[in-house]
Amino acid sequence: MQADIFAKKKRNTLAFLLLLGALTILAMIITEYNVLKGFTSIPKAIQWGMANFYPTAESLEKLPVILDKLQETLLVSIAATTAAAVFALLFSIFGSNTTRVNAFFGAITRGIATVFRNIDVAAWALILLFSFGQSALTGYFALFFGSFGFLTRAFTETIDEVSGGSVEALKATGAGYFSIIFQSVIPSSIPQLISWILFMIETNIRSATLIGLLTGSGIGFTFNLYYKSLAYDTASLVVVVIIAAILLIEYASNYVRKVIL
């Protein structure tokens, strides 16, 4: 009997690996992925990077322009996240199982959040490009919509987790809906909410680079400009600046998390 279980386990594992292998080959064929080229390109890229992709003294002259664009991108990401967080908090309170007004309303708010979350920020950027053109607002609204969807889901889960018992206790004492929300739900979940907001800001700075590439604004556009004109030294400076900014923000948010959680 025991041998049977092991044999069955082995067969299952084998079947799973075969399925995975078949899917891999299928995926390679339809995406036209070249295995050999893939592996050889890694050392080639490193070699090329060592030879060309580092900032030189000349490129340092462009630093003020780059920093200016970086500031714009950072501000867009932060502003989009905070505004999205306000809306997300509202929607998550209406969507959470413990604090919703009624089941029908809760389902609608969660449905809206699902739609916003599942359309990627890049897709939002391409949609919004029609009306806002190449301004910072295209990126702002793309990030806003994407963050809104994600934060609503994260906030809903946080509120569900944190406030099940306390809401019931306050309801039993006869507290009103608003006093339950403001005295119990928000205060007890605020550390988690801030942690999510900080995470979203980090993600948004990375996405902002991509959106900048697509819509022609911010630091992404700056990178693309130098990259396409083969000025790799300046392009690498842009990358270095982005890395520094992201690591700095990660450090700051890790500090905040450590203190408040």
């Binding site: 080639k44 905070t82 599942n118 897709a123 590439l213 990358v239 890395i243």
Partner: protein, 285 residues
Amino acid sequence: MEVKEQLSNVTAPSVHLLGKRIPAKPLNKAAIVTRLTLFILAALTVYAFYSFDYKELDFMDALLGTFANLKTIFLEPHLKHFSFGHALYQVMVTLGLAFLTTLFGAIIAVLFGLMAAENLSSRRVSIVIKSMVAFIRAVPTVLWVLIFAVAAGLGSTAAVIGMTFHSIGYLIKAYSESFEELDRGVIEALQASGANWWQIVFQAVIPSSITYMISWTFLRFEINFAVAVAMGAAAGAGGIGFDMFMASSFYLDMREIGAITYFILAVAVILEIFAAKIKRKLKTV
């Protein structure tokens, strides 16, 4: 009379206490940092709105225009430059890109994740790998793809390698954290019974964290699908993202964008439902 006097004696100190109310939430370090964080974020947001380069954009006009556009996009979708079958095939290409990057990323991340887990390797190795992961994650995926595109040429190969890089960073972090949750005693017991490192890994570490690993890997697959759409648009990786980019930037065809958005949305929702099902199944096992 006496009773009354006594009563007033009793109530007097409590009135005194009421006058000096003990604050419900003492102002400790956590409360200060919370308020400070919220304040800084709010201030930066206000400053951001003030400093945006609006390029003489009429905000109300643009907003109303967006609503009209969104109505056109989502209520009157059509396909003009390619057929339904072609769109379906392009979705498969994007899914294929996501699948390959997730698979490559997962295989490499398991190896490095084991080395990055502090309870399975030395502290020094762990720190080296973790700082490398922080570096890899700090560079946006699109930049990795474009950097590899110089060596491999713009196309799906560069996209897969570049996206894999970011997946590796993400999954190493997720895997190593779930490995580190393993009880120290389990490893010690196995070591005491003479098990070598590989036996510990395959008999204790991976079986106990496999459910976490599967749900993290599938989450990354969902993310990679979205990233693959974006890379198709921004870095010539092909797939549905490229068609979307063409519809938006070359044909300026809003209705086609609507149709493509519906395709992407459908796949993303299906993946999410699938992920929820896997999670539920893993929880019951």
